[in-house]
Symmetry: C2
């Protein structure tokens, strides 16, 4: 296909007037129903000769079916909502991209909404998506101080991705945060680290908590003590990692390794370490979480826990569309599924043996 022509060859109407299905029908000398059957390849067969006439009329008029009208009629929009805290955040950006790609493969479009980690905005967006009659919603819930989110909004299926509020009872797709934390901790212990610090996300968030807990459990089993003053909460971004690292390092006594709850924080921490003249990994080891594309290009390259982006996207969408199917079939089907995906450690240059 060459770059889409600006004008059809023939019959294009004037400014902003589109050919409608009736126009096609008239021109082809058939009924509008027949046009429908041709356009949709069904549900009824059409004589080859008739079909050809219709196709010709369609081409001549530059006709394109109106999805809005179709949606109204069939009560399906083939549009999904994607609500997440910050689509520019390294992790969510990558996740959103995979979701968009997969959704596209499945014949769906994505309406993008940023909640900015704000529950009110999130609610507003969900309501807007409901009014927009999206077929389903993928939601990375905002960090809520309190309550939960409905798993079903006026009959619209929602699946929670990456995070799920404590009392979430609907479908969810997450990765094994505890396992991730444990992998990192074991890796560091194996390198001889006994003084390990943590820069973790807000502990209200289950996955931030679990990443930490997974690591702490491993330390405990190894009889290594985790000093509370080496644990700092921070926001899930560069600035958070930077600030927390600064704070940790301005203490008299340092850890020899720093576990960050995500890659962005780790990048921020690396920058802070560099600014203070610490060498990574010789002075201090640093780990991330997520394995975003940038991780490979951090200085030094980041040891981190790899999230299965494609699996997350595919699983979330598959689950969601299953629900959409159920809704269309009328009535609730299988019970909600809380799926947890496995996760793996990627060792790179940001971790090394503990100093003697």
């Amino acid at each position: 296909m060459s770059r889409m022509a600006g004008e059809g060859a023939t019959g294009r109407r004037t400014w902003h007037e589109r050919a409608t299905r009736d126009d096609v029908a008239a021109r082809a000398g058939v009924s509008s129903a027949t046009v429908s059957y041709v356009v949709n390849n069904g549900p009824r067969p059409v004589a080859p000769e008739t079909r050809a006439r219709v196709l010709a009329a369609i081409a001549e008029l530059g006709y394109h079916p109106d999805n809005i009208a179709r949606s109204l009629r069939v009560r399906q929009t083939h549009v999904l909502g994607l609500v997440l805290p910050d689509s520019a955040n390294l992790f969510f950006a990558e996740l959103a991209r995979r979701l968009e790609l997969r959704a596209d493969e499945l014949g769906y479009s994505l309406l993008l909404c940023n909640s900015q980690e704000d529950v009110e905005r999130e609610a507003t967006h969900l309501a807007a998506l409901r009014d927009q009659r999206v077929d389903g919603i993928i939601l990375v819930p905002a960090d809520a101080p309190d309550g939960s989110v409905p798993s079903v909004l006026d009959g619209i299926p929602v699946v929670a991705l990456d995070r799920a509020p404590p009392d979430w009872t609907g479908d969810s797709v997450r990765t094994d945060a505890r396992q991730g934390g444990a992998l990192v901790a074991r890796h560091l212990l194996g390198l001889g680290h006994r003084r390990i610090g943590f820069i973790h996300g807000p502990l209200r968030l289950a996955h931030a908590r679990e990443r930490l807990e997974g690591a702490l459990l491993v330390l405990r089993e190894a009889a290594v003590q985790a000093r509370p003053e080496w644990s700092r909460p921070s926001s899930f971004d560069f600035a958070g990692g930077w600030e927390a690292a600064q704070a940790l390092l301005s203490q008299p006594d340092h850890p020899t390794a720093l576990c960050c709850s995500n890659d962005a924080m780790a990048i921020g921490a690396l920058a802070a370490l560099h600014a203070r003249g610490h060498r990574v990994p010789s002075d201090m080891s640093v780990t991330g979480f997520d394995d975003v594309p940038l991780a490979t290009y951090a200085i030094p390259a980041l040891t981190t826990v790899a999230q299965p982006f494609d699996a997350m996207a595919a699983t979330a969408l598959a689950t969601l569309l299953e629900r959409v199917g159920e809704v269309n079939a009328g009535g609730p089907g299988l019970p909600p599924r809380q799926q947890t995906l496995a996760i793996g450690l990627v060792v790179r240059g940001s971790t090394g043996p503990a100093r003697a």
Copy 2:
């Protein structure tokens, strides 16, 4: 608002049955038109007492207007399409986020599409958006070997953002690439650099070319020669910067400064320099372009050209919505505008005096 309740207090229908406007009308004992006027605050006034009854009925039934039906009727969806090469790319991710925020403020939603720098996919997406009856489209055109894109798709306004194909005649919003290139070059000259290398994007892309040309012009004016073997094309991502830097450095003779066409490439180049044991900026200065949030946290922090993200988003949307207005008013209005936004240099730690 507390976290949106799952069930309305009263009258919620069974699974997936929504209250319609007629239900509300019946319950309130008014006509459906009146409900419309209440919901939309117009276009006709409604007696306070009637309005109250309607509002009550709406609440009791948990009624929410159907935007699809509304869109069909008013021929406006309040949805815009956003088509860009890669929504996870640092620059586009940031741009998309600002666009979404601004669009939201203006009462529009964004349908996100990744073209993956592929013209075919782009065309498919544009067609899908047309069928979806979006009110307008913001397009960052894919790097096309040949032709152009229609500025109007079946009457749907399109504004090109960040890039515009050579023969683009529609509206566009860009930043002053030449100026950006010049700023960087002058900065490096001022630091005493005379041996300057370039890692630039595909030169088919006007803005990649212009960033380079802007810099070369300044060099020429300063009677500094740009050696062709120090110029390398690469893709606009980490890997591109990495590879190009590796290639440049494996030559016998090096530049002392490296201008990259965007921040991602610069980050990749920094990683490559680090891997090869070069110090930045003492051995080599590096510059980026865009000033994405990450630039501050690069090691060392990146000297770069700051793109006015908010202005780009706001201008693109304002322009687009102006066109949408014109279309609704029927007929073409003002001639297309090619807007160019100013741009500024941000000096950070990745540039320093040339080695003696």
